[in-house]
Symmetry: D2
Subunit: 355 residues, 4 copies
C-alpha cells in the first residue's frame, strides 16, 4: 500500500480557490483532495466537472464539509471577509488550516485567528503568503541569510497589477482593505522576512493617487500607493503598489545591504522567448500574479501537506500575518489621514510626542 | 470513482529514468506508475524507497515487466544502446511507448523502430524530444507559425553542457554516437520543427576541436563541435555543441526569418534573482539540462498520457526522429572525414558530382 | 577663416572642474577654452600640464580671470559654497554662466542667482543638471512627451553611489547640504521635467538611516535616504539615494503613466561585455557618475556653447534650479525633524491645518 | 602656443568619409583637418558648408590634394575599389595613411599596399578595423588576454545589418567583394585578434541563402551567409552575416575559452531606455553600424593621430588586413563553389590530398 495521504478540503472555488483545489488534486502527491465547499452555483458546476469525477465530495454548506469523514486539513480560499471565521471554525474542528492572505483586513480579527490556534499547537495553521514559497525569493533569502549582502538596511518592494480596464478592482476595493492591505501585504510580509521576523515597526507613512479610477476614493482607496515603513534598528522598507501596469504583473523586490544588493524579478519575463521586430526587441511578461507565482502555490500546497503529515514546523509563524496586517492597515490609515503614524520600541502605537 | 488512469511502466532508473518515474508517479495526474524495470542493484535500492511504497512493482527483467497486468505504456529510459530493442519489444507487446532520444545512434536501427510501429497505428510511439514540450519553444513556434517573423531562413541552435571536470563524458562518448548525435540531435529536431517537418537536407558539414578532453579523439569525438546543415529550399541551420561551458547549461536557439527573429533562451537564468556585488551584477544559470527543461519533461509525461488515453495524435511524428539521427550521424561523419556530405532533393545521399 | 568660437573660462579645477575644462578644450568644437581659475596649487600644477600648453591662461584670482580679454562665458565648478557668489559675479561682469548644480544648498542664495540673472536676459545662465543632456533621459522624455505612456502619475528615481570605504563623503556632508540636496537634487529636477516644470509641490516626507557611516548623523545626514514628494494634481515622486552600492553607481528612473512605463537605466552596464564564469554570468557597471554621464556633460558643454553663440534659449530655465533646491532642502528637513512638510497650491509652505 | 597638431586630409566624403572628416575636424583635438577630396559635386556642396568654413581646403583631384602644403596624413574613405590605389599614392607621397577596410577585395591588391608600406617604416599605415578601437571589444580582449577565460577555442561572431528595403545592397554587391568580404571581414579580423595574430587558417567553408534579395545571386552573393574557419592548433571561428535584421544592426561576438566565455553585444541596445507597454517590454537597438561604433571611430581617429605625432607603433599591423581579406575571399569562393577550401600549416592553399 502506498503511504497515507493528507485528506484536504478546499473552501471557496473562485479564481484562486479553484487553483488551490487543482493543486491539491493533481500536483500534491501526498495530499488527497476529498472535499470542496462553495455557496456559488457556478462554482459548483465547475467542480462537478473538474473535481467530483476524481472523488471529491462537494458541499454547499461549510459546516457540513468540516464534518467530512476523515478530513484533516482545510484550505480557506473564500472572500477575505470570511477568512477568519472559516479558519477559526476549522481550527475548532481540529483541522489543519491553510488560509489565504490576509487573515482579515482587521488587525483584531486577524489576531483572533492566532488566538484560536494557540491552544491547539498540534495543528498547522498557515497564512498563505505565497511568495515565501517562491524559489526565487527563497534563493534570495538564503543568500541574504548567509551574509552575502552584509546587513540588510533598505528594502524596496512592489506589487503591481496589470491594468484591468473593466474596473473590477473598484467594486473589489470595498472589501479588500485597500491597496496597502490587499497588495502590499505581501511586500510587508517579505520585509519582515528579510529584516527578521522580530523587527518592530517604528513609523509608517503613505500617499497615493487615483490615476485611472477616481471612484476608488469613495472607498478610501487609490490605484497607486507609495508607502514608507521605518523599523526600529535602522531599517527602512519602501513600497509601491499599482493597479495600472500596462505590460502585466510586475511584483519585484530589492534588498539592499551594507555589502551588496539582491533583486528578485527586477526584469520580469513570461518565458525565455525574445522577439526581434522592426520596433525593437521585445519580451512579454505575465499578465497576472498567477503567471508569476504558480510554482510558489504548488510548493506551498506540498510543504503544508508535508508539515501536517510529519508534524514538522511550518516555515513561518502565524503571528507574522497579524504584524503584516497591522502595518498594512496603518499605511492605509496614513494614506487617508495624510499623517505619519508612530510606534514605540515595543511596536505600540503612540503619538509622536510620546516617543 | 475517478476516471481511469493510464498504467505506465518505466524502463531504466538511471538519472533520467528516475526522473521519468517520479514525473509519472507524482506529476502526471492521469497516469498511474505501476511498474519499473532496472537491471541495476543500486537503482533497485533507490526504487524500493521511492517507488515501491506507492505501489510500483519493480522488475529486474524487462520482458517480465512487459507482462505486468494491465500495463498500457512503457517509458524507455535505459542506455541508448538498448532503446530500440526495448521500444520494439514494447510495441510488439502492444504497449504505447515513450522512448528517450535518440531511438538509436544508428539510422538503420532507428528506422527499425518506425518499421515496428507502422503496423500498429493504434499505439502511440513517441521519441522524447523534450524541447518540443518546453513552453518557451512552443511559444516561439506558435509565433513563427503565425507568420510573425516572415519566412524562417536561418536557424542557429546550440546545446552546451557545463564543464564536468570528472571527464565523465569521455567514457560516455563510446556509446553516445558523438556530440552531434548526443547533443545537437535536439537542435536538429528543432530545425526540422521550425523549418517544417518535410524539410529535406541538402548538405551537412562539421568541424570540431578537443579543447579540454583530447582523449575524445579515440572515439572519433570532440568537446566542441560546429555543424552546418543546408536544407533544400534556401534554409540553413547552423549548430554548436560544447562540453565546456563554465557557467552552466546553455541551450539556446534563434530563428531568423525575413521579417523578424525569435530567440529562445538567449539569456539563460536559473531563477529571477540578481546579485549586485563589488565585482558587478551577477546571475546564475542552471547547471544541467534538467534545470532548464524540468517543466518540459513533465508536460511531455502529461501529454503522452493524454494522447494514449484519448487516442489523440501525438504532437509530432516518429519518423522525424529518424531524420534527426540521419543528420546527426552525417555531421559526425563529416567531422571525422573532413568532408562535406551531399544529399539530393529526395534526401538521398549522393556524391557531389551527381547533383 | 573658421567661424568664431565662444571664449570660455572654467572656475575650479577639482575633479569635475578639470573634466569641464577638458570638455571645453577638446570636445566642444565651437568653444575655445581661454582661461581657468583655481586657488589650489595642485590643481594649478595639473593645469600647467594639461591646459596651459593649449593656450589657456591660468588664474589664481577669480576676479582677475573675469577680466580676461574677450571672455564670454564662465563655467562655475568650484565647491558648492561659492557657486552662487561666483555665478553672480560672472553675471555682473556680463558673462554667460554654466554653474554646476546646486546653485547653493540654500533656497535663498539659489534665488539670489536667479535675481541677478533676471535683469540680464541676453545672458545664458544654466544650472548644470547634466541628466537633462543625457541621450537616454532625452529619449525617454520625448517618448513621454509624445503621450506614449499616457499621463505620468508616479515617478521613481534614485541616485546611488558606489560605497567609498574611505568615508570621504562624511567630511563632504558638512557642505553638501545633505543627501537629498546633494544626490536627489538630480532626481527632483527630473521629476519637475517629466511632470512639467510648473508642477507645484504639495508635501514632502523623508526618512533615512546611517547603515555604513554613523558619523554622518553629526551633520544631520544619512547614507541612505528615502523621500516622497507629492505634487498638486495627483502626482507622486518617490526617491532613493544611497552611498553604499556595492557594484557601482546606479542612478535610475522610472516614469509610470496611465498607459505605460518608461525606465532609464534600470539595468546599468559599463559596456557591452558579459562574462560567463563558473560563478554565473556577470557584467560590470560604472564605478562613478562620470562613467554614467560623461556623454551628457559633453552634450551640455556643446549646447551651452551653441545657445550662447546663437542666442538661442537654453533647454530649461534657471528658476527650476531653485524649485529643486527648495524640495531637496525640505526633504532634508523632514529627514531630521521626522515630520511631513506641507505646501499650499501656490507652493508656499504651510502648516497642515492651514490647507 | 598650443602643441602642434597633425595635418590630416580625408579622401572621399560619402557617408563614412563625411563622418571621418567631422571626427578629425571636431573630435580629434590633436589633429587638424586641412584638406578633403571628393570627385562628387554633391559631396563638395556638403563640404563647402560643413568643412570649408573651418579652414579645410577642398579638392576634386586626389593627386593635387596630396600636395597640400604641410599635409602629413590621409584618411582614405572612398569606394573600396580605389582604396589601395589611393593608399599607395599617399604612401609614396610620404603621408601616414588610415585606410577604410578592406584595403581591397583582392588579396593581391591588398598585399600591394603592404608592399608599398614596407620600405617606409616611418609611416603609420592603418587599415580601419574600427572594432579594434571599440571600448567593449578592447575590454573583452584585455580580459581574454589576461587568461580569464582560459585558452580561447571557439569564436562566434556576426555582422548583421538592418533590412534595407530599398535593396541598395544589391547594387553595392557588385563591388563589395561579397558578404563575407564586406561584412564578415570584421569578424575575421576579430578572430585573428582574439586567437592571436599569427593564427594560421586551416580550412574555410561557407554557405548562404538569398532570402530577401534573389538578385544578389547574379553577383555571386547572398543576403545571409554562414561561414566556418578552422585554424591550425585547434581553433574554430564560425561566422554569420545578414542583410535582413528586422530590429536593427546586430554585430556581436562570443569568445569561448576552456574556462569561460566573453560576449560582446549579445544584447544590443540603442540607449538605456526601456518601455513597458501593453505588448510587453521593449527596447530599441541601433539601426546602423555607426550607431553601434561611433565611439570606436572617434577613438580610431585619436589614436591614429597620436601614433603619427609621437611615432608610436599602431595597435595592430597592416599585414593582418591581408590575412582577413584572404580568409574572406576564400569564404566567398567556398560559398559559390560549394567546396571546402584547405590550407597547409604555413597558410598556403592546398588540395586536400596534399595535407
Amino acid at each position: 500500500m502506498s503511504p497515507r495521504r493528507l485528506k484536504v478540503a478546499v473552501s471557496g472555488l473562485g479564481r484562486m480557490g479553484a487553483r488551490h483545489a487543482l493543486h491539491f488534486l493533481n500536483r500534491t502527491p501526498r495530499a488527497q483532495l476529498v472535499a470542496a465547499f462553495t455557496p456559488d452555483e457556478k462554482e459548483i458546476a465547475w467542480a462537478k466537472k473538474h473535481l467530483e469525477p476524481w472523488g471529491v465530495t462537494l458541499y454547499m454548506d461549510y459546516d457540513e464539509m468540516l464534518q467530512h469523514e476523515g478530513l484533516e486539513a482545510v484550505v480557506v480560499a473564500t472572500v477575505t471577509t470570511v477568512h477568519a471565521e472559516q479558519a477559526i471554525k476549522a481550527i475548532k474542528a481540529d483541522k489543519h488550516v491553510l488560509c489565504e492572505k490576509p487573515l482579515s483586513t482587521s488587525v483584531e480579527i486577524s489576531q483572533s485567528v492566532v488566538d484560536a490556534a494557540r491552544p491547539k499547537p498540534h495543528l498547522k495553521v498557515l497564512c498563505g503568503f505565497s511568495r515565501r514559497f517562491d524559489p526565487s525569493y527563497r534563493d534570495a533569502w538564503s543568500r541574504a541569510d548567509s551574509g552575502s549582502i552584509g546587513r540588510p538596511a533598505i528594502f524596496r518592494s512592489q506589487t503591481c497589477d496589470k491594468l484591468d480596464p473593466s474596473g473590477f478592482f473598484v467594486a473589489y476595493a470595498q472589501f479588500s482593505g485597500g491597496i496597502f492591505v490587499d497588495c502590499n501585504i505581501h511586500d510587508i510580509d517579505l520585509a519582515l522576512w528579510f529584516f527578521g521576523q522580530d523587527s518592530i515597526v517604528k513609523s509608517v507613512y503613505a500617499v497615493g493617487v487615483t490615476a485611472v479610477q477616481p471612484e476608488l476614493r469613495k472607498y478610501g482607496d487609490v490605484d497607486n500607493g507609495v508607502g514608507v515603513v521605518e523599523f526600529w534598528g535602522g531599517k527602512i522598507a519602501y513600497l509601491y503598489s499599482s493597479r495600472m501596469m500596462a505590460a502585466g504583473q510586475h511584483d519585484m523586490t530589492e534588498v539592499i545591504g551594507t555589502e551588496g544588493k539582491i533583486t528578485i524579478n527586477a526584469n520580469p519575463i513570461s518565458n525565455l522567448v525574445e522577439m526581434a521586430e522592426p520596433s525593437g526587441i521585445r519580451r512579454e511578461i505575465p499578465p497576472h500574479y498567477y503567471g508569476r507565482f504558480e510554482e510558489a502555490f504548488v510548493v506551498e500546497a506540498n510543504e503544508f501537506t508535508e508539515c501536517c503529515l510529519e508534524d514538522r514546523p511550518l516555515p513561518f509563524k502565524l503571528t507574522g500575518a497579524v504584524q503584516a496586517v497591522k502595518i498594512g492597515c496603518a499605511l492605509q490609515e496614513s494614506l487617508n489621514s495624510g499623517r505619519k503614524i508612530w510606534f514605540d520600541e515595543t511596536g505600540r502605537r503612540v503619538e509622536r510626542g510620546m516617543l
